[in-house]
Symmetry: C2
Subunit: 352 residues, 2 copies
């Protein structure tokens, strides 16, 4: 069966200039894939391909548009139309590099959350010292979480990782400030109990508490945390990586001699750079919705945007939605919160 | 006036083997300083110095001792005796590389918090891209914080940075998941209002919200956050730095050719390593107590432990305690929470 992605080609900092190049590369590398290119037909004309079809949308959600604008005013935006394709079954996943807050709000509005899940979460992989990726969620969609939400994130994250890798039983760590079960806030302790119960029931492979350094060590396949902590963690990591990269550059640029050393070390530095290249980890999943939506970084270049397409494609063809449903059905007895009346409206999502 | 430090020479992973060497270097570099070397006299005999005096203590708090052991059983521990020197005015600050939880509990029990401050906080500097340090607090003493606590951290952090640098008006950022004032949890929004009010009243130099990446960018001199977020941020940074360092090492060790490149690049790599050397940032302040206590990393080597001594010495001779008092007096109208009855007993501190 062919898998079709709906691509918001107008979103992100660069729009079609980047998205179309990425789409072409993606199509060449994936002979079974089909794309729906969503946006202004004139802007999308440069990409002619037998497995790509343009779906017209007259508006574009700007990177700084308020969520309300995206939801209530721009009803024919490329972002909205792309998600609509998923809703209507024309595509199995949507991908956008646009404004995170707008994407989350539109996805939630159009697709709704899966039964058993209160709130969608943002999940993405971060490179780890084992050479793999650690999937962390939530990265910023939910600033105030209960223990029930963390359990839901663990279920969603397990479905995502099993869809993207061969591993049907990925391990889950609870982000805490100490390995001992007595550490952390009351909410975290309760989340630990709930996750342990889910582990005992065979709903997921719960490892126990992990600390911040375990994310990059790769102690577990999945790390769950509330969206405030996850977002701070992610942005701090970006800041540190950028500082360290800058320092290395400065030291090699200091004198003619160090510049010569940079030439000698070039292949090593290039290999190093490739290994820590954040573009390879682009493509966050909006989890917990009745349809697949993937978010690319707004500043993504061709290589990075293609990674987001690949991630969405792999998730779709490995039936991520079915896996989510199956895992929720299995964990149903523990997922109590989701049947209760909706809680206070969640915060608008952050600019992940 | 001479400044005296009480040094817990038995604490940390290495004990006197490291602490005594660091103390000797410190004394040589600081001709006005006096040290009280606290611990087993036999173990401390190797360091004979006219400005160092041994204060005997028969017990040692082990790195894995429970807080209760340190508080109730080992009443003649080197850690406790060192803090006692501060309480009795024999020393102006205590320094220990021992167990953080025990140190915080003992310091709090013996010294008490300053009037106007509910809970002590752990503050430390992290290197930033501007070449300076960003002081972050709390790094793990308080897992559940109110907006009042974040205001108190801002006041304490401002006093610390003004004591350690020439800057009498250091800037304070509130760690959040977006720059806009509407971002974050309800508590963070209220903290933002309180900090803005304190800024308007001239109590501190409030910059506004900052994000995780701003810590390493050096956007503000001080960043305040709750201890859960601060601890996760710190440990994540340690994990990322360790992974990146490991990758760099692996790439240079890959083949005979890359090993040759490492030789050519050696001076550059050494300069780079020095720049990101976490030992230079060793020495966290336990803030908000009626006496100065500094915490070294347990694994500190001679260079790192000496940094903690220098930090404590600088804070003491620049009257950190007076600065804290003065800032609290100034901010008194906004520091309402601290006059209320004590809240629920705070969590045991984490192993920062």
């Amino acid at each position: 069966m062919t898998t079709t992605l709906a691509v918001d080609c107008m979103g992100g900092d660069h729009g079609p200039r980047v998205t179309l190049v990425a789409c072409r590369h993606f199509l060449e590398a994936h002979p079974e894939a089909q794309l729906l290119l969503v946006g202004a037909p004139a802007a999308l004309a440069p990409l002619q391909h037998p497995r790509a079809r343009v779906v017209a949308a007259t508006e574009v959600v700007a990177m700084d548009d308020a969520v309300e604008i995206a939801l209530r005013k721009k009803k024919d935006s490329s972002m909205r139309v792309a998600i609509q394709q998923v809703k209507e079954g024309q595509a199995q996943a949507a991908v956008s590099a646009g404004n995170t807050g707008a994407l989350m709000a539109l996805a939630r509005y159009l697709l709704k959350t899966v039964e058993g899940i209160d709130r969608p979460a943002i999940a993405s992989g971060l490179p780890n010292a084992k050479g793999g990726a650690t999937t962390v969620l939530d990265l910023g969609a939910n600033v105030d979480c209960t223990e029930q939400h963390l359990l839901q994130f663990a279920v969603l994250g397990s479905a995502l990782v099993s869809a993207l890798t061969e591993d049907e039983n990925p391990s889950v760590g609870l982000l805490n400030i100490g390995e001992e079960a007595i550490k952390g806030s009351e909410m975290i302790k309760k989340a630990g109990e709930l996750l342990r119960a889910a582990g005992s029931a065979g709903d997921l492979n719960f490892f126990g508490n992990v600390e911040g350094n375990d994310i990059f060590k790769g102690t577990t396949d999945i790390v769950v945390c509330d969206g405030f902590v996850g977002n701070v963690m992610l942005k701090t990591s970006e800041g540190l990586a950028s500082m360290v990269g800058g320092f290395l550059k400065q030291e090699f640029a200091r004198t003619p001699l160090t510049k010569l050393a940079a030439v000698a070390a070039y292949p090593v530095l290039a290999a190093f750079k490739k290994r820590v290249d954040h573009r390879r980890y682009n493509g966050a999943a909006l989890m917990g919705l009745r349809g697949l939506v993937f978010k690319s970084h707004g500043s993504a270049d061709e290589l990075a945007f293609e990674q987001a397409l690949i991630r969405a494609y792999d998730a779709a063809r490995h039936n991520l939605l079915d896996r989510v449903q199956a895992r929720i059905a299995h964990a149903r007895p523990l997922l109590v919160g989701a049947d209760e009346p909706a809680q206070a409206q969640p915060q608008p999502v952050t600019t992940y």
